[in-house]
Symmetry: C2
Subunit: 353 residues, 2 copies
DNA sequence: CTGAAAGCGCTTACAG
DNA sequence: CTGAAAGCGCTTACAG
């Protein structure tokens, strides 16, 4: 192995192959017409010298602009979760804008399937070079995926996965395993005959499969660890939310020591705070601003969190790597399942979330 | 706000200021002699148009190479921890090598202070443009820091902090808070009169302050939460390690329900596995390969982990941002304190660790 | 104190 | 099928 004295560039290749730079370029990127003979020769020399194009020079010289589209739910005061992936996307945007990447964002309403139809159509007609999208509405998302495939636009799923599609990659959570881990945490606090209440907010229909996976994860944990206490599930629909207080109170018994909310927990926490939490351990999801308040004051014991900012960031970077750097992208990318408590939330507040 | 139709470049500035590109360059980077008048003019125009240099072009045109030095402990089979920061450093290296960054690594032995002296001298004589180093030996590290300051070489602390130095930045853990969090986890398992055993391995003298901070964190947690069970500390020195089994056995009582090892737990876990762990909750540090084995088989309940790979990665990127991009660097960067269990370790095994 | 020119390693019309 | 030349947005001697 010789010291790589001065990296080999396209000029070296051209000289050694007795051709011009333009020809080397044509061979390398399959543009234009080159004789098989020169083709061979150039490729061999590239391989021999382990030629790696200088990506800086490449991007500088090329006037090609890559246009990416992002299609995700809009964040709401009620559920600010989607702020975080968006933040990650914007962080990535800053990093790649010098490389000729332009990103256009489209937002849909989780409670309104028509908004998804409308926005996804917009995306399609804008004809982008790559797409990051959250496939929360199952049937419509599959349709959309297939249209993307058909137009040969690479697309990446974020937050939710549709396993049988032809997506480039998935960045998100393992919902089942998150619930399973929540089971472990809860089990530390339970006694032999304690009861557990699992609460699902059914108002965001699109998210419902997530909630079910989480519940199943927790129930499986208990089953596998021979826990025989009573476990109750409660599905709260939108029109019941105003009566949350009565509903929850009615379901919490003397023996209930565990409360698992399969999504954002702050609404419940607010009610519990009024009545006092007693011996209850409360688990919820996602380190959003409203949840944080109740984590800080001790009503919520743990939040499970799956790096929403990182999901957004990595999705964009994956498209960048794929389109610009021609790198191979890993298809499945599960985020770490983070356990956040009053004692460690401080270090999850910045861009690391 | 006008659409930023075609980013403004140095050519636009030059034209508008009625000077040459070279002069703009001189103004921007304080090289050479420029009249105050033109200086003013150029700066104003830059500000007005919000000129942002194209870093790609900058790096491509410049033949300046930045040489960085890394000085960290070498990883050992006994304690492979330092593999992980090194991995992060190498990840960063790949990302910045196209930008003319060269990294040279120096390793010292945590059990041999002379090796630190020797290697740090090497670093200094190589006269790098920036340094990342782990200041594990207190006195020697302060000396070294001061020499760096004197030579005007920016340096970044990784893993440990020396608060009063003139370092550019710190990337690492909050050891105290990690112990505090471990206290919370343990408390979920303790009963009123349970006992807790805290184990410190004193064989790596350089790490001892870390261990003490962790112990203090845990003890403070218990104090603040009115826990009155007995807490015992045990410091094990190198020559006692072979008798680990007897020592630990002698200290574990019927009432002991918590065992906190302030560093790598696998050696203890191996002994406990032989005798059976009973009702013990065992907490240790760092998701290293030997620890993982005992996390998987249930001997270790939780590992506290502070993103060693990320520490290494971000340290290098910070020097890059500082030297090449002239960005401001945040001085204190604490990593998230991660709680890792059998149920979520899977997603911490790749580069995210 | 200032500018013209060459060059960094590529891509991209254009001409043949 | 192939090459010469211009250009991407900067930096860097060199000359004055």
């Amino acid at each position: 192995m010789i010291e790589d004295n001065e990296k080999t560039g396209i000029n070296d290749i051209a000289r050694l192959a007795n051709v011009s730079k333009a020809t080397v370029d044509r061979v390398l990127y399959n543009r234009g017409r080159v004789s098989d003979e020169t083709r061979e020769k150039v490729l061999n020399i590239c391989k021999e010298l382990n030629y790696q194009p200088n990506i800086l020079a490449q991007r500088l010289a090329s006037d090609k602009v890559y246009r990416l589209a992002v299609l995700i739910p809009k964040s709401t005061p009620d559920n600010p979760y989607w702020e975080y992936p968006l933040k990650g996307i914007e962080n990535a945007e800053k990093e790649v804008e010098n490389y000729g990447i332009k990103i256009k964002k489209y937002f849909y309403d989780l409670k309104d399937i028509r908004s998804f139809r409308k926005e996804s159509l917009q995306v399609l007609t804008s004809d982008p070079d790559g797409i990051v999208f959250a496939p929360e509405f199952n049937r419509e998302s599959i349709e959309f995926s297939q249209k993307c495939s058909h137009k040969k636009i690479p697309y990446i799923f974020i937050d939710s996965n549709l396993p049988k599609q032809n997506h480039l990659s998935y960045f998100g959570q393992d919902t089942y395993q998150g619930g399973y881990l929540a089971g472990k945490l809860l089990s530390l606090h339970l006694k032999k005959h304690s009861e557990v209440l699992i609460l699902n907010f059914a108002n965001e229909l699109a998210n419902y499969p997530h909630f079910m996976d989480r519940e199943k994860g927790m129930r499986d944990y208990f089953t596998e660890h021979n826990y025989h206490g009573k476990i109750t599930s409660l599905n709260i629909s939108p029109d019941q939310e105003t009566e949350l207080k009565e509903i929850v109170k009615g379901k919490l018994h003397r023996r209930t020591r565990g409360l698992f909310i399969t999504s954002s927990a702050h609404k419940v926490a607010r009610q519990i705070q009024k009545t006092g939490k007693g011996n209850l351990m409360i688990l919820g999801y996602d380190l959003t601003t409203p949840n944080l308040k109740y984590l800080k004051n001790g009503i919520i014991d743990f939040l499970i969190c799956q790096k929403p900012v990182t999901q957004g960031y990595l999705s964009i970077m994956a498209l960048f790597d794929h389109l610009v750097q021609k790198k191979d992208i890993q298809k499945s990318n599960f985020m770490p399942i983070e356990i956040i408590a009053k004692e460690n939330y401080q270090y999850y507040l910045d861009s690391n979330i």
